[in-house]
């Protein structure tokens, strides 16, 4: 594939202040790097690739960061850029953030997602298995694979409910909600799953246990309390609505009443 040269006249020079931390137990600090030749058409992660190539040429270990699909759906990338989860753009993950959102000469602060339950593994890589453990506690409908479940169209589901369930289910589990919340609360993440199932008839049978168990696990992981600032909804790359948190609160209260 012939590769064209970038837009030479728009090339940027940046100062990057990046959190470097050798491993989980080491003490980390912000390090400053300067990077030239950044094209506005690059994604943020491609800019990081260029930086890493440069660092390796200088014999410095590259900056570790999580990334995989680079199209905003796997939920791997997780940087806190200039004080915001996934950076200044809205409804994007870091891999979808493009350098055209920055200006020549900018200083960019890049930190890992911070939360007690998300310990740093290395540099910008954090351990988000707390999210998985919350899902293990109840993020499922107990149905075995058999080929004998009833026909998919046996229970019609009102379109509005199906759409809302889908909207909640689009959560990619990136952790931006936790990272951005001033309290490091995981309510948006947990409520998205609780809501998805609460809105579907298939999810009703286990609804009580599900919400109780998932919230219990969420609390045990050490996430903070929700204070309804709404920051999570704004920073969520998938635009998961605060309505889900209210729904979970409702589900949780009624589950507690049921006992």
């Amino acid at each position: 594939m012939p590769i064209p040269s970038g837009l030479i006249n728009l090339i940027m020079k940046l100062t990057l202040k990046i959190w470097r931390q050798e491993n989980a137990t080491a003490k980390g600090s912000m390090q400053t790097y300067s990077l030239d030749g950044v094209s506005p058409d690059m994604s943020f992660l491609e800019m990081m690739d260029v930086l890493n190539e440069q660092l390796m040429e200088q014999g410095i270990e590259p900056v570790a960061f999580d990334h995989d699909c680079r199209e905003g759906i796997c939920g791997s990338c997780s940087m806190f850029i200039n004080g915001e989860a996934h950076g200044p753009d809205r409804l994007v993950t870091t891999c979808q953030l493009h350098m055209r959102k920055f200006k020549d000469g900018d200083t960019i602060h890049i930190e890992p997602f911070r939360a007690k339950p998300f310990p740093v593994i290395k540099d910008l890589v954090v351990d988000r298995t707390a999210f998985d453990r919350i899902q293990h506690a109840g993020g499922f409908i107990s149905v075995n694979t058999s080929g004998n479940t009833q026909d998919a169209n046996a229970i019609p589901i009102e379109k509005a409910d199906a759409d809302k369930a889908f909207d909640a289910a689009t959560c990619i589990g990136c952790g931006a909600c936790v990272a951005t919340c001033k309290n490091a609360s995981a309510m948006l993440f947990v409520s998205a799953k609780v809501s998805q199932y609460a809105l579907l008839p298939q999810g009703q049978v286990e609804a009580t246990d599900r919400v109780l168990n998932m919230v219990k696990q969420m609390d045990e992981e050490g996430f903070g309390n929700c204070t309804n600032t709404g920051a999570c909804e704004v920073e969520c790359p998938k635009g998961i609505s605060l309505e889900n948190i209210a729904r979970m609160n409702r589900e949780f209260l009624s589950a507690n009443v049921k006992g």
């Binding site: 911070r114 709404g230 609160n249």
Partner: protein, 219 residues
Amino acid sequence: MSSLLSSTILRKVAMALSGIFLMVFLLQHFVINITSVFSATIFNQFSHFMGTNALVQFALQPVLIGGVIFHFVMGFVLDIQNRKARGTRYAVYKGSANAPWVSRNMLISGATILAFLGLHFYDFWVPEINYKYIEVLPEDPNRYHEELVHKFEDLTRVVIYVISFFFLSLHLSHGFASSFQSMGVNNKYTPTFKSLGKLYAIGIPLGFAFIAIFHFLNH
């Protein structure tokens, strides 16, 4: 109680419920006080009733004080937990990008209100308790309006009160809608609740400030 408050959500609901209780009280407090502006008689009647009714004095008043203490203590407890949940602080954290100042600083507005409450208790509640239960002076059903007006002769006090009401307004402007969200109310009426909340959050503190300024100007 402790097991009931073991969950983050229940703690939030408790905050919301105590908040709503305090907002109801505040409304009641306002309704009585605003009468002082246009009728000393009515104000005195209300105050006399509130000050001497056994149910109010020995049932509602302790509940109210309990509610206030609970709301504050819980607020601080939650904040300590929330700070712990973050762990290492961010070097750069741009809270203003995604949430209004008021919602992020309930602790500051709350603490200001707490400080104000200290003054307010010193101004009214302590003399009242002293009058009724310590010195046990004879009850005069017409003393209340005069005492009130007397307090607002001092400009410094009025200024402090008005500033406090401003913080109260900030606190309420997040607290009102937030309490409904915490209790799981988020539906097609939510925009209405939010408008109502704004009205309440601006109207009540503004009304209290008006009362203070009115008496200062008319003494």
